[in-house]
Amino acid sequence: MSFREEHELHKRRFGRNLGLGLVLALFVALVFGLTIAKVSNNDFKVPATQGATN
């Protein structure tokens, strides 16, 4: 008996994990893009930190 035999369930799980991985990668890229877009905006001001105000 081989434990390495791939079951149809494993293929399904691999597909799901791959899909989720791609979605997460795209989400990270989008948040990065959003950050760049926000800080590139002329209106953007760095929020004053507590240390700077004291």
Partner: protein, 318 residues
């Protein structure tokens, strides 16, 4: 927009947790309905007088779409019992035994919260608040509250589908205005004739599921009358909108042609009875349903064209 698919199986299988494929979770988002959400939200965003950074605009549309999809997943979670009874919905992931109800609930709630928070961070609180209200309205007020209680369910549910252009507009401007309310009203008035035309030729499904669709509670003659009344009101609104901030000559031409066609079909539906409809397999009702899809797409495309022309000083009546 309805996500009409005709299936033949009504077998309900017990799903095992963790067995679903990626595509099953995607199907929970009602991708066909999502296309309407994406398109109308995009028009709302682009027609707004204030421009947004392309990445912020892309993120806004994406999070609005995810929020709409989350509402769809929560709708399927609540309605899995009646979905299994209707041919049209029996192949959805829960009744088909691919996704468990708990998985659908967790998936829907997670995406709903995430989409609202991310839309807030990407754009502003008004857009995020509207998205949160839309999800709440569709899931709690419509799906859980009123759908199984009133034959006006379609009218009420139509409001949820009408919010995306308002959210897109708010994402760009940070506010609600008469133009965005008009886009809301256009979808709101369009939904009842669109859905009731579908209900006329998808007969039996809603009755079997015990959903008080107008065709079941008030009869098919009354439904035909309702379609005509709503189409007349829709035509007045749609043509009238041509003379507002979102309209112009291009929009007016589109509105005149399509409302004349839609009114012609609504009158034909009203004049027919069940014997005539069954004789030609609901040809007129099916034609009106298909036209309604073109109708909405064309009106929003015309709004988009007017907004694009305005960029060259050509849009509107000025």
């Amino acid at each position: 927009m309805s996500d009409a698919t005709i299936n033949t199986s009504t077998n309900v299988q017990a799903a095992q947790p963790g067995e679903a494929e990626f595509g099953d979770f995607f199907a929970l988002l009602k991708p066909r309905v999502m296309t309407l959400v994406v398109f109308t939200a995009l028009v709302g965003l682009l027609a707004a007088p204030i421009g947004v950074h392309p990445i912020i605009g892309l993120a806004a549309i994406l999070f609005i779409a995810v929020g709409g999809g989350a509402a769809g997943a929560l709708n399927m979670w609540w309605e899995s019992d009646i979905d299994s009874l209707m041919k049209r919905t029996s192949k959805r992931p829960i009744p088909a035994g691919k996704v468990t109800r708990d998985e659908a609930f967790a998936f829907g709630v997670t995406l709903a919260v995430m989409s609202v928070v991310m839309l807030w961070l990407a754009t502003n609180a008004v857009a995020a608040g509207l998205l949160a209200f839309t999800i709440f309205f569709y899931v709690v007020i419509y799906t859980i509250g009123l759908k199984r209680w009133t034959p006006q369910n379609i009218v009420i549910g139509g409001a949820a589908g009408a919010f995306p252009p308002m959210i897109g507009w708010a994402a760009a401007t940070g506010s609600i205005s008469i133009e965005s309310v008009l886009m809301f009203a256009l979808i709101f008035m369009w939904t009842p004739p669109h859905f009731w035309a579908l209900a006329l030729f998808m007969k039996g499904d809603y009755h079997k599921a015990g959903v008080p669709m107008l065709t079941v509670t008030h009869g098919r003659k009354s439904t035909r009358r309702h379609i005509l009344v709503y189409t007349v009101l829709l035509a007045i609104l749609a043509v009238g909108a041509a003379f507002t901030g979102i309209g112009g000559p291009v929009y007016l031409a589109v509105a005149l042609v399509l409302n004349a066609m839609f009114l012609r079909d609504a009158v034909a539906i009203w004049r027919r009875d069940e014997v005539m409809a069954e004789a030609d397999d609901y040809r007129v009702e099916k034609k009106a349903f298909k036209l309604s899809l073109v109708y909405l797409f064309a009106h929003f495309t015309a709004i988009l064209i007017e907004a694009a022309l305005a960029g060259f000083g050509l849009g509107g009546w000025a």
